[in-house]
C-alpha cells in the first residue's frame, strides 16, 4: 500500500495512463468493491470514518457533506455529482497534475462517490484552459464507458451513471460551488444563497454534491484500503496525504504528495530545495492566494486544516506562494487584488465595488501616489469585506493576503507612501 496513493501512478513524462494500464495497477477495483460488495451506506460510512476533508480549500468533511443528500425512494432524482475541476486559485496547480496524469483515478473516484449518494448523473466542470486535461479526460471517459464502468447497469450492479465533461468558459468564481452550478446550468456564474444547500437543491434544483478533484481521487483508495489506513497516512488527526505545492523563488518549485501535517519547512527545504541563491524568504501564502501570509518564523508549523488557523492562516489548497526579499509585498498584494477584483462576479456590493477601490488604491501606492489616508482606507476595508458581509467567500478570501500583509509588511506600505515611490523599482 502506497503512502502516496494519489500520485503513485504518475509517469515522469506526464502521459496519462490508459484504461488498461490503470487496471493493471489495480484501477477500478474500488468500483467493483463498492458496487458489488459494499453498497452506498457502507461507502459513505468508510469515507466518514476516514476523516477525508475537502481538498478544494475549505476542508469540509466529505462524508458529512454527502450525508446531507436525501437518500432512499423519496429522494428527488436525478441526483448529481459535480467535480470541481475549475482550478483557478492563483498559485494552485495541484489538481492539474492528477487530471493530466491519471484521469482514470478521478473517474473511478467519481463513480464510487456518485454511487455513495445514489447520483444519476455526474459532471466534471473543468477549467477551460486545461487543454491537456480535457484531452486526457475525454479519452478516459470514453474508455471507461466502453468498458462498462459508466452508463447503464455498471458491471451488472444495477447502478447507472452518466458522466459528462464540461469545460468552463472561464471565471475564477466558478470555483465557488454554487456559482459553478449556475454556470453549469448555463446561467451567470453568480453564487447562490445558502441555505438551501446544493445537497438539497443544487444543479437544476436537484440534490447535488460538488467535490474537488483531489478529494474524489482519494475515495477509491479509502474504499480499497479502509479508513484506518487513510488516517495513518497523515501525521495529524486530519486523514490522508495531500498534494502540496510551492511557487515563487524556490530552487525547485513543484507539487508533491506528502502526509498532512508535514511542516512548511520540510516542504520548502527538502522538496523545493530551499530559496534560490541570493534571495531570502520574507513571507508565505500557504494555501493559494486567498489565505493569509505567514512569516519565516511559522515555517515549523504543520500543514493541516487545524494547525494553520491557530497562526491566523488556512491550509487552503496546500500550495504555497513564497514572498522573497527582492519582491515588493505591496506589488504582490496588488497583483492578487487585481485578480480578485477582476474575477468578482459583480453580484454583491462590497466585492464588486470594494475590491476595485482597493485595487486602485494599491496601484496608486505602487505608483508613488499613495496618501497617508490610504492606510486607514485599506485597514477599514479588510473587516468590511469579511465573512458574512459579502455574499460569498471571494472577497473575504481576497482580504486574507491584504489583511495579513498590512499586519506583517506595514512598514513597506508606509514607506511607499512616505517616499512616494516603490522602493523595489
Amino acid at each position: 500500500m502506497s503512502e502516496r496513493p494519489l500520485t503513485q501512478n504518475l509517469r515522469p513524462d506526464g502521459q496519462p495512463l490508459t484504461l488498461r494500464e490503470y487496471e493493471q495497477v489495480g484501477g477500478y477495483q474500488a468500483v467493483r468493491k463498492a458496487l458489488k460488495d459494499l453498497g452506498p451506506a457502507s461507502v459513505l460510512g468508510v469515507v466518514k470514518d476516514s476523516n477525508l476533508r475537502g481538498r478544494g480549500g475549505a476542508g469540509f468533511p466529505t462524508g458529512l457533506k454527502w450525508s446531507f443528500v436525501p437518500m432512499g425512494s423519496n429522494a428527488a432524482h436525478p441526483k448529481y455529482l459535480v467535480v470541481n475541476a475549475d482550478e483557478m486559485e492563483p498559485g494552485t496547480f495541484k489538481d492539474r497534475v492528477l487530471l493530466e496524469g491519471d484521469p482514470h483515478s478521478l473517474i473511478e473516484g467519481v463513480i464510487v462517490s456518485a454511487f455513495a449518494i445514489e447520483a444519476d448523473i455526474a459532471y466534471i466542470f473543468l477549467r477551460g484552459e486545461y487543454f491537456e486535461a480535457e484531452k486526457a479526460l475525454a479519452r478516459a471517459i470514453a474508455e471507461a464507458r466502453e468498458a462498462g464502468y459508466l452508463g447503464r447497469d455498471i458491471l451488472g450492479s444495477g447502478y447507472s451513471l452518466e458522466l459528462h465533461l464540461h469545460t468552463s468558459a472561464g471565471r475564477y468564481i466558478c470555483g465557488e460551488e454554487t456559482a459553478l452550478i449556475n454556470a453549469l446550468e448555463g446561467k451567470r456564474a453568480n453564487p447562490r444563497n445558502k441555505p438551501p444547500f446544493p445537497q438539497v437543491s443544487g444543479l437544476f434544483g436537484k440534490p447535488t454534491i460538488v467535490n474537488n478533484v483531489e478529494t474524489l481521487c482519494n475515495v477509491p483508495h479509502i474504499v480499497n484500503h479502509g479508513a484506518a489506513w487513510f488516517k495513518s497516512l497523515s501525521k495529524t488527526p486530519n486523514g490522508g496525504a495531500k498534494l502540496f505545492g510551492v511557487s515563487g523563488k524556490a530552487k525547485r518549485p513543484g507539487v508533491w504528495e506528502l502526509p498532512l501535517g508535514v511542516t512548511m519547512r520540510e516542504i520548502l527545504e527538502e522538496h523545493a530545495g530551499g530559496m534560490r541563491d541570493g534571495v531570502a524568504l520574507r513571507g508565505i501564502i500557504p494555501g493559494g492566494a486567498s489565505t493569509d501570509f505567514l512569516l519565516p518564523e511559522h515555517l515549523d508549523l504543520q500543514m493541516d486544516f487545524d494547525t494553520l488557523p491557530i497562526a491566523g492562516s488556512r491550509l487552503g489548497t496546500g500550495t504555497m506562494i513564497l514572498l522573497d526579499d527582492k519582491t515588493c509585498p505591496v506589488g504582490m498584494v496588488h497583483n492578487l487584488i487585481t485578480f480578485f477584483a477582476h474575477e468578482s462576479c459583480g453580484w454583491c456590493t462590497p466585492c464588486r465595488d470594494g475590491l476595485p477601490w482597493i485595487e486602485k488604491t494599491l496601484a496608486a501606492i505602487e505608483r508613488g501616489e499613495g496618501i497617508p489616508e490610504d492606510m486607514a482606507m485599506l485597514d477599514k476595508h479588510v473587516p468590511l469585506l469579511g465573512p458574512g458581509l459579502t455574499f460569498c467567500a471571494l472577497a473575504p478570501g481576497a482580504m486574507a493576503p491584504l489583511g495579513s500583509a498590512l499586519r506583517y509588511f506595514r512598514d513597506d506600505f508606509e514607506q511607499h507612501i512616505r517616499e512616494k515611490r516603490c522602493p523595489w523599482r
Partner: protein, 905 residues
C-alpha cells in the same frame, strides 16, 4: 405570530416573513436596494444589514442581511447598532464610487431611492479619489431611456424584466464592476411591461422617455388618483400634470388590481391628452366651416336646436364614464339611449355579465388571478387584449410548483432559492386561441383553433368535469384527450381559473368558459371566471343597458328620431362605414361630445369639448366588476368640461331638466345609485366633495410644489386664482391636507419623510406588498352566488369547416395600436404594426402568396387590399384582421371573406 426583538423592544410580526419585511411592516427605516416587495429577496446589495444576536446575553452579535434572514420567534436584532450602521453607510459609499454626480440633470432626482438611501445611511463624504467607471448607453425604443453610468447593479431590472415579466431581451452582461444591464444590441425593449423598469430601477438608469420630452420633477407635478383608460382591466394610475400638460403616468398601487405594475400601453398611452387632435372649444359646422362658439353661445345654440327637433337619441360609449353615459341616458330617456357598440358586441358583453351575476363562479381580481394554480384561457390573446392579466398569469404558473419549495421549507421570499428549485417548472396553464400568443411560452399546452372549435373544446372540458354540462357533438379524439387533460388539471387544483372574453366574437366561447368554471364550482372547488372587457368602461356601460348601435341607426333611418347626441364615441370605429354614413346622412342634427377629433366629430353638426380622464371625474367599472373612481388631475384652461357636466348644461339649455334633478357630481352619483340597483353602493367609493380633512381639502400638489406665485407671471403678475373643484374633496393647490386620513381612493401622494421614491409604499400598506392601509380602493359590484343553480348553457357549435372560396376573418388585437386613444400617443404609435392580414402557411400556399404579398379581401360589398403576414400557428381557413390599427379596414367580425391575390395592375 412571532415575537421579535428590535433594539431590545418586542414586536409582534406575521409568521413566515423575513426580517426586512417585518421591520418595514413595523415602520422601521431599514434601507435596501435589491429587495422589492414583488420580486422578493436575493441578498445582493448588502444594504439591509442588521445585527443579529443569539440571545439576550449575546452582546457581540453578527451582521446579517435582514432580507435573507427569517423573522422567527425570539429573533433579536439591532438596526441602530453602530457597527452595522457603519457597514450600511459603507455599502452606500461603495455604490457611490461610480455613481455620477448628475442628480441636477437626472430625471430620477426627487424620487430617487438611491438619494433616499444615501441620506438614510448617512453617507455624505466621498473619499474615493479615482476615476469612475463609464458605459455606453443604448437606445431602448420610445418608452425607456437608458443611462448606465448611474447603475448601482442591484439587479432589480433584470429580475423584474426576465424573472417576473418573462422578457427575453434585457439581462446582466459582463462582470465585476463592469456588469451591464441592457440588450444584446440597441433596439426597443420587447416586453409589454418594460415601462415598469422606470419604477423598479432605484435610480436613474431607466427613466420615462416620454417624460423626458417634457420633464417635470415629481414635486412639481399636480396629481390625483386615476384609472387607466386603455383597456378593461382598470389599473390604478397616478397621472402628473404641470402647466396644463399631462407629463406622465405612474403606477398607483392597488393590492387587488395592478399591484406595483402597469403595462406599457397604460403607462405611455397618455399623450393623446396633449395631442393636436384635442378639441378645446365648442364649435358648429356650417358649410364645412368650423365656427367656434363660447360656452354660453354653444349651449344656447344647441338648446335651440334640441327644442326644435323631434326626438333625440343618445349614443353612449364604453370609453366614457358611468356618469357621462348616465347623464346622456337621463337627457334622452332610457328608451332612447343606445350603447355605442354594435348589437353583437353588446350581446357578448351582456352574456358575460349575466354569467358572472347568475353563476356560482366568482370574478377574480388581478391578484386572485396571480394566485390561481391552474388556468384555462379560452379564446383570448391576453398579452395584447388585457396585458396585466397576462402578467398575473405569469405569476400564476409558479403557484403549483411553489409547493415544492414549501416542502423543503424554503421560504417563498427567498427568490433565488425558489427559482433554483423550481427551474422551468410551470403549473398548469392551457391556452386555446385563434393564434399563438406570447403566453404560450409558459403554457402547459396550447390549442390553436377557429372560434367554434375553441368553444367546442371548452364545452368538452366542462363536460369532462361534470357530465351534466352539455358535450359538443363529434369531437375529434385528440381534442377529447386534450379536454380530459385540461379537466384533470383544473379539477385537482385548489384555485382553478378560467379566462375568456369577447375576442372571438363568439357567444359559444363565452358560454363554454362559464360552463367550465361552473362545473368546477359544482363538482370540485370554487373556480374563478375572468372575462376580458375590451374597454375601460365596457362593464359600466353594459350594466346601464341600452340597445345596440344598429338600433340607433334604424331609429334615424325610419324617422323615429332625427337628432343624435354621440358621447365620446367614434362611430366609424364601431360599425361599417356605410352604416355610419347612413346615420349622418339622415340625421338632422348630430351633436358630438368628445375630447379628440374623430371621423364622427368631423361629420357632427356641433361638437362640445369633453374632458379626458385627466380633466374629469367619474367612475369606470372594470372587467372584475370593480367600480373605480378617477379624479380630475387638473383644471383645463378652456371650456373643456366633463361630458356629464356638458350634458347637464345641455339639459338646462334645452329646458329638459326635471325638478329633483342632480346638479353636482355627488348628486349625480347618488341619482345613479338610486336608479340602477347594481350601482346602489357607488356613492361610498369616495367621500363627498363637501368632506374636509382637519378642515381642509386634500392637496393635489406636493408640499414642495415650486413656482406657485411665479409660474404664470409671464401672463399676469398677480397670482392666479386657484380653480374650484366642486366634484371632489381635493384642491388644485399645494395647500390642503396630505396626512394619514386620506382615503385610499383619494390618495395619489405617497410620501413619508426620507422616502421620496415609489419604495415609500410600504409606509402605506398593512404589510409590505399587501393591502393598502384603509383598504384597496374600488367596489365590487358583482358577487357570484356560490349556491347558484343556474343551468349549464347549451350552444356548443358544430366543428369549424374551412370553406374553399372564403376565409373566416377573426380579430387580432394589438397592445400597441388597437386601442383608440393610446394609438394617438407618438410612443405607442411608434410600436404599432402596419395593417396586414394574417393567414396560415397552407392558406398562403393555396392563394399563391408569400410574406408581404398583397391580397384583396371582400366581405359583401366591402373590399380592401392588405399585405399578407404568414403566421405558422393559425388555423387553416382562418385569416386574422388586426383590430383598430390606423389605416386598417374596419369590418364586423367574425365574417366570411373572399381573399385572393391582388390582380397585377
Amino acid at each position: 405570530m412571532a415575537t421579535i426583538y428590535i433594539d431590545n423592544q418586542p414586536h409582534e410580526v406575521k409568521d413566515g416573513q423575513n426580517l426586512l419585511q417585518a421591520c418595514l411592516t413595523l415602520g422601521f427605516n431599514v434601507p435596501f436596494f435589491c429587495w422589492h416587495p414583488a420580486l422578493n429577496s436575493v441578498g445582493a446589495c448588502r444594504l439591509c444589514a442588521v445585527k443579529q444576536f443569539r440571545d439576550e446575553n449575546d452582546a457581540r452579535g453578527r451582521i446579517v442581511m435582514s432580507c435573507m434572514t427569517p423573522a422567527t420567534d425570539g429573533t433579536r436584532i439591532s438596526i441602530d447598532d453602530e457597527e452595522v450602521k457603519t457597514f450600511r453607510a459603507q455599502v452606500l459609499e461603495w455604490l457611490m464610487t461610480n455613481h455620477p454626480h448628475d442628480c441636477p440633470v437626472c430625471d430620477e432626482g426627487g424620487e430617487c431611492h438611491l438619494q433616499d438611501m444615501t441620506v438614510m445611511t448617512g453617507h455624505n463624504y466621498r473619499s474615493y479619489r479615482f476615476t469612475k467607471r463609464t458605459y455606453t448607453n443604448q437606445d431602448l425604443g420610445p418608452f425607456v431611456n437608458h443611462e448606465m453610468n448611474r447603475c448601482i447593479q442591484c439587479y432589480r431590472c433584470a429580475r423584474f424584466y426576465a424573472d417576473y415579466a418573462g422578457g427575453h431581451d434585457l439581462a446582466p452582461m459582463a462582470s465585476h464592476n463592469h456588469t451591464y444591464f441592457g440588450r444584446h444590441a440597441d433596439g426597443p425593449l420587447e416586453s409589454e411591461f418594460s415601462g415598469n423598469l422606470v419604477e423598479v430601477c432605484p435610480t436613474g438608469v431607466f427613466t420615462d422617455k416620454t417624460l423626458k420630452a417634457h420633464n417635470t420633477r415629481r414635486w412639481d407635478q399636480q396629481t390625483a388618483p386615476s384609472v387607466c383608460v386603455h383597456c378593461g382591466v382598470g389599473c390604478n394610475t397616478i397621472p402628473g400634470e404641470r402647466y396644463g400638460t399631462l407629463r406622465r403616468i405612474r403606477n398607483r398601487y392597488n393590492g387587488e388590481v395592478n399591484g406595483y405594475f402597469l403595462c406599457d400601453r397604460g403607462r405611455y398611452g397618455y399623450e393623446f391628452v396633449n395631442g393636436d387632435r384635442r378639441i378645446r372649444a365648442a364649435y358648429r359646422r356650417q358649410h364645412d366651416a368650423k365656427i367656434e362658439m363660447p360656452r354660453e353661445e354653444a349651449l344656447a345654440w344647441i338648446g335651440d336646436r334640441l327644442n326644435r327637433d323631434k326626438t333625440i337619441i343618445g349614443i353612449g360609449s364604453p370609453r366614457a364614464s358611468l356618469e357621462s353615459n348616465f347623464a346622456l341616458r337621463t337627457l334622452t330617456g332610457p328608451e332612447h339611449f343606445y350603447q355605442g357598440v354594435p348589437e353583437h358586441e353588446a350581446r357578448l358583453v351582456a352574456k358575460m355579465i349575466e354569467n358572472l351575476q347568475q353563476g356560482p363562479a366568482r370574478s377574480p381580481s388581478l391578484q386572485d388571478m396571480a394566485d390561481a394554480d391552474a388556468v384555462l384561457v379560452l379564446g383570448e390573446d391576453l398579452t395584447n387584449a388585457a396585458p396585466m392579466m397576462a402578467l398575473s398569469l405569469r405569476q400564476a404558473v409558479r403557484q403549483a410548483p411553489m409547493k415544492a419549495a414549501d416542502k423543503l421549507s424554503i421560504p417563498r421570499w427567498n427568490d433565488d432559492a425558489v427559482r433554483t428549485l423550481l427551474q422551468d417548472a410551470k403549473g398548469p396553464l392551457y391556452i386555446a386561441a385563434t393564434r399563438d400568443t406570447r403566453l404560450d411560452e409558459v403554457a402547459t399546452e396550447t390549442h390553436v383553433a377557429a372560434p367554434d372549435d375553441i368553444a367546442r373544446l371548452g364545452f368538452a372540458v366542462a363536460h369532462a368535469i361534470d357530465p351534466a354540462s352539455p358535450a359538443p357533438s363529434k369531437l375529434a379524439p385528440e381534442a377529447e384527450e386534450l379536454a380530459s387533460r385540461i379537466a384533470m388539471a383544473l379539477q385537482t387544483a385548489k384555485q382553478p381559473l378560467v379566462v375568456s372574453g369577447p375576442s372571438c366574437k363568439s357567444e359559444a366561447v363565452i358560454a363554454a368558459a362559464a360552463n367550465v368554471a361552473w362545473a368546477l364550482c359544482r363538482s370540485c372547488q370554487p373556480a374563478a371566471l375572468a372575462y376580458v372587457m375590451p374597454e375601460c368602461n365596457t362593464m359600466g356601460l353594459a350594466l346601464l343597458g341600452g340597445q345596440g348601435l344598429e338600433k340607433a341607426i334604424d331609429a334615424i333611418a325610419n324617422g323615429a328620431a332625427d337628432t343624435v347626441i354621440v358621447l365620446e364615441n367614434d362611430l366609424y370605429r364601431r360599425i361599417d362605414r356605410a352604416q355610419a354614413d347612413a346615420l349622418f346622412a339622415k340625421a338632422k342634427t348630430v351633436i358630438a361630445l368628445d375630447h379628440i377629433e374623430t371621423e364622427t366629430t368631423a361629420k357632427a353638426t356641433a361638437v362640445l369639448p369633453a374632458a379626458t380622464f385627466a380633466e374629469s371625474d367619474g367612475i369606470y367599472v372594470n372587467g372584475e366588476g370593480r367600480a373605480q373612481r378617477f379624479v380630475q388631475v387638473y383644471a383645463p384652461k378652456s371650456d373643456i368640461a366633463d361630458a356629464w357636466r356638458w350634458l347637464r348644461r345641455v339639459r338646462d339649455a334645452a329646458g329638459r331638466a326635471g325638478g329633483n334633478d342632480w346638479v353636482s357630481l355627488d348628486d349625480l352619483v347618488e341619482t345613479i345609485s338610486k336608479s340602477v340597483n347594481v350601482f346602489h353602493d357607488v356613492p361610498s367609493l369616495v367621500p363627498s366633495a363637501a368632506t374636509r380633512f382637519v378642515g381642509q381639502k386634500i392637496a393635489r400638489q406636493p408640499h414642495r410644489y415650486s413656482g406657485r406665485t411665479a409660474m404664470y407671471a409671464n401672463i399676469d403678475v398677480s397670482e392666479s386664482q386657484v380653480p374650484e373643484d366642486p366634484d371632489s374633496p381635493m384642491s388644485f393647490s399645494m395647500e390642503g391636507y396630505r396626512g394619514r386620513r386620506i382615503p385610499t381612493a383619494l390618495r395619489s401622494w405617497y410620501w413619508s419623510p426620507g422616502w421620496n421614491s415609489p419604495q415609500v409604499l410600504s409606509k402605506f400598506q398593512e404589510e409590505v406588498g399587501g393591502a393598502l392601509r384603509g383598504g384597496d380602493p374600488g367596489l365590487r359590484l358583482i358577487e357570484a352566488d356560490p349556491n347558484s343553480s343556474v343551468a349549464y348553457q347549451d350552444g356548443a357549435p358544430a366543428a369549424f369547416t374551412p370553406r374553399s372560396q372564403e376565409m373566416l376573418l377573426v380579430a387580432m388585437h394589438h397592445i400597441y395600436g388597437s386601442e383608440e386613444m393610446s394609438a394617438l400617443s407618438p410612443s405607442i404609435a411608434g410600436r404599432a404594426p402596419a395593417p396586414y392580414i394574417a393567414m396560415s402557411p397552407r392558406d398562403a400556399a393555396r392563394l399563391g402568396v408569400t410574406q408581404n404579398d398583397r391580397v384583396e379581401i371582400a366581405i359583401g360589398s366591402f373590399t380592401s387590399i392588405l399585405p399578407v403576414d404568414i403566421l405558422s400557428r393559425l388555423p387553416v381557413g382562418v385569416a386574422g384582421l388586426p383590430e383598430g390599427l390606423r389605416g386598417a379596414p374596419r369590418a364586423s367580425l367574425p365574417a366570411w371573406a373572399t381573399v385572393r391575390k391582388e390582380a397585377q395592375p
